[in-house]
Structure formats: C-alpha cells, structure tokens
C-alpha cells in the first residue's frame, strides 16, 4: 500500500462529499434521529383522558373521583347521567381513553357490606398503554378502598422496590443510549455503501478497475472518510444525550469512545458488504436500512431487555453485533461497572473481532474487475 495514493484518493472523496452536500446528511441525520426518537417515544402514560360517570353522587364516589382528578396520570372529567352507549361511542371516536362507571346506590350498598361493582372500559387499540392504564386504575381504586376500611388488613404483603440504574424510570434514560447504538450502526453503513456504489452506478468504478491502484488502497480510501466523519458523531451524540436529555453518565468515557469506534468499524463493514452485492444507490440505501434498523431496534434492549428473550430471538440476538454494543453503552451510561466487569471485557473483544471479520470478508469478496 502506498500512503501517497491513499492520501490522494481520500482527498478526492472528501472533496466530493463536500461538493455533493452529502456531508450535511452525515451530521444532520444522527442529530435528527436522536432528537425525534428521544422526544417522540413516550411509553410512560400521563394525562390519560378519563371520563367518570358518577351515577351515585355520594361522599364516597366523589372522593373516588377526586383521587383521579388529583393524579397526574389522568386528565379527568366527571359527569353523571350519561348513558353507557353514549360514553362508549366517545371511546370509539378516540376522544376518551378510560371510562369509569360508578353505579347508583354505590355508597349505600358499600356501607351495608353488600357486593357492588365499578365498571371500567379502556381503549385497547394501543396495547402497552392499555395495560399501563389498567394498572393505574386498579391502583387508584384499591388505594381508595384500603383507606376506606378501618378493619385491619390480613396477609398484606408490600414490595419495597429499589429501582436500580434508572431510579425515576425515565423514558429518556431507557431509550437515548440505545438510540446512539442504532445511529452508529445505520449511518456509517449507509455512507460507506454509497461511496462505493455511487462509482458503480455512475460508471467511474472503471477508473478503479483499470488503474494501478490496489484493492486494499481503494478500500482504505473509501472507508477512512466515513470513519473520520462519524467519529465526530460519537461526541455529538454524547452531548445530546447528557446535555439535552440529561441522561446520567456513570461509567468511563474512554470505554464509551473505544466501543463506539469499534462499532463504527462494524457498521462500515456492513456497508462494504452491501456495496458488493448492489449496483444502484437506491437499492444500496434501502438494503442497508433493512438489515440494520430492525435488528438495531429489536436487540437493543431499548424496548425489551435481552434477559426476557427466549428461543430463536435469543439466538438471533447473539448473532447480531447490536446486543454486545448496547450492553456496554447502557453500562457506561447507567450502570458504571466499566472494564471491571468480565462481561464487558468479553463483549468488547467480541465486537473487535466482529469488526475485523466483516472488513476482511468484504475485502476478500470485492473484486477489482467487471463481474
């Protein structure tokens, strides 16, 4: 390999990146993804639109409604005398999320110790929210019931929960570190695939086929610019996470940097492989997105912890590089064990060999001739 040739080729790549304004996408896209997803994904349910039909209008039923009104989880309206059909129609029109119906003579029956029931209807079109809302409603009503009775409860077991790593259960802490992993997998892969496929589509690849430049020099020249450009993103994304989303950072920055750098190399390897099997830029982009985004989400631990997986999804999670990187990322942000943990050391090593394998495989498969 001759350094002079590589330098010249890299300069050419940078000039083209600037000229085609591709450089904008390198920096706008990651920032946009982290801001949109970071603000956009809200699993926590607040202000669920609740309609209480209080047909009893007694002290107890008013006390129950007040409990809903004072909770930040519900955005409550109380009426009386509305028919059940009419109220259910409101849910169908997506104007109400939760409907609570307190029957008449609720208080009277309760004081006499007779059985009575509260009807609750929840819009289940968005399943996770429905389950969460159901638990909220249960909590409020059982709480009210418990405070009402002067009988000493028997067999009451409570849970003293200590929330580790994400004490306030913030969505930002859960999602933003995972997003960094997603971006660093998708963006460098697209760029490196494009840089090569662009030449194929425009026909300038023949310069490479016919000139004395070596295959290794060509690959280095094509992969170094995305590597340099996206290294800056490691720091930009870190700043967004800690400054804008206020995600705590408890681990070692050096580990975060090193792991991210290796992860970018893996992503470049993916891009290289894509560029070998595709001929047009549009197919290259779509293919890269398909093979990176879905595993990037599924095995990130953002939505579902790896420990909850079973069967084939557990095996698949171990095949893709996503799980290894995200384990380290979440550790550096929220847990902070760093390299003291043997698992982190193992995962870092796996990532390193993963990157090496992909890039070597890509270099072997690429041909310096018309295929």
């Amino acid at each position: 390999m001759s350094p002079g040739v590589i330098r010249a080729y890299i300069l050419k790549e940078f000039r083209e990146l600037l000229r085609s304004r591709l450089i904008l996408i390198v920096y706008i896209l990651p920032t946009m993804i982290i801001i949109l997803f970071g603000y956009g994904i809200r699993m926590e349910v607040t202000d669920a639109r609740t309609l209480i039909i209080d047909n009893d209008n007694s002290t107890i039923s008013r006390d129950l409604s007040a409990r809903f009104e004072h909770s930040r989880y519900f955005d409550t309206r109380v009426t009386s005398g509305m028919g059940e059909q009419e109220a259910l129609k409101r849910i169908k029109q997506a104007k109400v999320d939760i409907l609570v119906i307190i029957p008449d003579s609720f208080e009277k029956r309760l004081l006499h110790g007779e059985k009575t029931e509260i009807g609750v209807f929840i819009d289940g079109a968005f399943p996770v929210r429905a389950t969460t809302m159901q638990n909220y409603v249960k909590g409020v009503i059982y709480d009210a019931a418990r405070s009402l009775t002067d009988k000493k409860p028997t067999n009451l077991i409570t849970v003293n929960s200590r929330n580790l790593f994400n004490q306030a259960m913030r969505d930002e802490d859960a999602i933003v570190p995972g997003l960094i992993g997603l971006i660093l997998l998708v963006a460098p892969a697209i760029l490196s695939a494009l840089l090569i496929v662009k030449e194929k589509e425009e026909g300038t690849i023949f310069n490479f086929y016919s000139s004395p430049i070596k295959k290794s020099e060509f690959i280095v020249a094509k992969l170094v610019p995305p590597l340099i450009l996206h290294t800056v993103n490691i720091f930009i994304l870190f700043l967004w996470a800690t400054w804008l989303f206020e995600v705590p950072f408890r681990g070692s920055f050096l580990l975060y940097w090193a792991a991210s750098q290796i992860y970018i190399a893996i992503s470049l390897g993916v891009g290289l492989l894509v560029s070998i099997i595709t001929r047009t830029q549009i197919v290259a982009i779509v293919l890269t997105i398909i093979i990176t985004i879905i595993p990037g989400f599924l095995y990130s631990g953002m939505l579902m912890p790896i420990s909850s997986m079973s069967g084939e999804s557990k095996i698949e999670a171990h095949i893709y590089p996503v799980m290894y990187f995200n384990h380290i990322i979440y550790d550096t942000f929220l847990i902070g064990q760093g390299l003291d943990s043997p698992k982190n050391r193992l995962y870092l090593t796996i990532l390193f060999f993963y990157a090496l394998f992909l890039i070597l495989l890509g270099s072997r498969l690429m041909k310096k001739e018309l295929s």
Binding site: T116, T131, V159, S161, M169, S308, L334
Partner: protein, 360 residues
C-alpha cells in the same frame, strides 16, 4: 388521451417489474418486514428473568414464588447470597431480584403485614414498571382488604392487548409512507439522471399527463403492496381484527398513497440524483413518522409538537386506520381523517406537480 395515459402507466409498470431489485425490496417491505416487526417488537413485559434470595426457609415465600410463571415470568432462579443476586442484576442477566428477609414470615403472622425487598433493573422503564405491577397484583390476591367492591375492567378492541397486531399495522403504514415517497421520486429522478426528463417534457404529449401517469403508476404499485400486506400479513398471520369497513381502509389508503406520491414529486423536483432523493426522503419522512402518533399518542406530546402534528398527513392516516381496524368507528365518524388526508394530500400533490412540471 385516456389511451396515452394508460400507455404511460403501463410503461412505468413494466419498467418497475423489470428492475428485480426494486420488486424484491417492495415485496420484502410489504411482507417480511411487517412480519418481523409485528412478531419481534414486544413492548409488554413478558418472560421476565427473576432471581431470589430466600432467608426464611420456605412457606409463604415458596407460595409466592410458585405464582411467578409464564408468560409473565421465567422460572425464578435461586441465589445463595445477596451479592450474587446483585451481581447478576448488574450484568443484566436478571431483571427482578426478590429478597425474603429472615423475619418476613414471622412479621406476617404476628402483625398481618410484611414486605419483600426488591431490586429492580429499571433501565427498560416501561417493562420494569409492568413487572412491579404484576408482582403487586399477585400479592394483592393474598391480602384480604375487607371491602366488597368488584372491579370489572374491560379492555376494548384488543382485549388480550397483543402488541403484534398494533405493531404490524403501524409498520405497514410506515412502509407505505416510505415507499410511496421513494418510488415516486425515483421514477422521475431516474429520467433526470439519464437525461430523458427534459425530452419527456418537450414531447407532444401534455407534460401534465406524463406526470399524472407516472405518479399514478407508483400509487398502483403501492396499492398492490397494501392488498398483499393486509391480506397475507395482517389478516393471515396476525389475525388483526376488522371492526370497521375494509373498503373505507382501502379508500383512505388510496388517498394517502397520492399524498405520499405528492411528497415524492416535490422531492424529485428539487433533487438531481438518486442520492439526494434518498437523503431528502429520510429527512422529510422521519419527522412525519414521529409526529404521527404511531409511537406516542398525540395528546401526550409536547404542546408545540401537538400543533406541528396537525400538518402530518400520516397522523390522520394512522388514527383513521386504527379506528377502522380496532375501534370499528362508523364510516360517518371517519370524515375528519379523510378530510385531513385529502386536504394535506391535494396541497402536497399540486405543489409537487407544479414544481416538477417546470422545464429546467
């Protein structure tokens, strides 16, 4: 005139089917991609890994542990010390750690109340919260509160709260958006790149007809995909309920496909190469998808984002489709979704139409 129109549509369709790469991607997106998303993304807490340390010597703790089972929990793993349990949680192999302290059972017998220490890996906040709720519900079963209130909770439209049905539908709508824009932009920009677009505009055929035919052909491709995806994946694989009218859904999809074709026209007008098409489409699409309420209900968003979401056609499309499939809303009550899609769609389409039709 009509003949020319259909000849042009046929030309584009033939062109589409000739590029096998594109056909493969469209087919993949409308089938496997939706399947993987629906089957893979599970947001409900399931199969939670539990570990415990039992210092009591059995009895009540054993009873509670036997209540932790599939599908919510994995079989609880025993640890001999708190350190070992906490190490496992720090390595993220266990999500919920329960500690029964030695006086747990004594307290329960003597005072009628007792407590379990719980270590919870709360990184995946929603799932952790649900795990906590599951456990509290189980414990509540043992307690006798002494109040005769029965709580009848009905989850409407999707009683088992299956995430897969919702995720599959949302993913299909995202695919329609993405492909609608990219495919439409691609048919124009490819001609631009080959230098044939200017010639097309100079031909004796009305350029308006060409533009209409070209975008219509891509709308047809998308609609074909929608039929495949709803028939095979949504109904066939995931058993998505259909509480409303399927005709209403296809009609809404048709208008929406034109809307995204309109965005595609605009993208095609301002880009010179496929590369720019890809960049621009991604830049336009991401906010569109995130302002649509697919991931977060609109009314839970930041107030400013709520206002902005009003101009996302996908918002109306998603809410409309949700209402058709799950809520079973009457056709008459769907008018606001149709209005949203059609109004935004015509504005976008005519803007793109004017822009691409200009020579040079």
């Amino acid at each position: 005139m009509i003949g020319t129109f259909f000849a042009l549509v046929a030309k584009e369709l033939i062109g589409f089917f000739r590029s096998w790469g594109l056909v493969a991607i469209v087919l993949y997106s409308f089938t496997l991609d939706i399947y993987i998303t629906g089957a893979g993304i599970e947001m409900q807490a399931k199969n939670i890994a539990v570990g415990y340390v039992d210092e009591t010597g059995g009895g009540m703790s054993g009873k509670i542990l036997s209540r932790l089972h599939m599908p919510e929990f994995q079989k609880p793993v025993m640890f001999t010390s708190r350190e070992a349990l906490s190490r496992s949680i720090y390595n993220r192999e266990i999500m919920v750690g329960l500690i029964f302290e030695s006086d747990f059972e004594k307290k329960l017998e003597r005072y009628g109340r007792s407590s379990i220490e719980m270590l919870l890996d709360s990184i995946a906040a929603t799932q952790s919260f649900q795990a906590l709720q599951y456990l509290q519900n189980i414990l509540l079963d043992y307690a006798d509160i002494g109040i005769p209130v029965e709580l009848k909770i009905h989850k409407l439209f999707n009683p088992n709260a299956t995430t897969s049905q919702f995720m599959a539908m949302a993913e299909m709508l995202s695919v329609i958006t993405l492909l609608g824009v990219i495919l439409t932009a691609a048919v124009f920009v490819r001609e631009k790149e080959n230098g044939t677009w200017d010639i097309m505009l100079l031909m004796p055929i009305d350029p308006k007809l060409i533009i209409l035919a070209k975008s219509f052909s891509q709308v047809l491709v998308i609609m074909g995909g929608v039929v495949i995806a709803t028939g095979i994946v949504l109904f066939g694989v995931f058993d998505v309920p259909l509480n409303g009218s399927i005709a209403a859904f296809f009609l809404l999809s048709f208008f929406y496909a034109f809307t995204s074709a309109g965005i595609g026209l605009f993208v095609a007008a301002v880009s010179k190469s496929m590369l720019q098409v890809a960049q621009l489409s991604i830049l336009i699409m991401m906010p569109l998808i995130f302002l649509s309420g697919a991931w977060t209900p609109i009314h839970a968003m930041h107030p400013l984002l709520q206002k902005l979401s009003l101009i996302s056609p996908l918002r109306y499309y998603i809410e409309g489709s949700e209402s058709i499939f799950f809520r079973g809303t009457d056709f008459a009550d769907l008018w606001s979704y149709f209005a949203g899609v059609i109004i935004l769609g015509s504005v976008l389409y005519f803007y793109g139409f004017r822009k691409i039709g200009r020579l040079f």
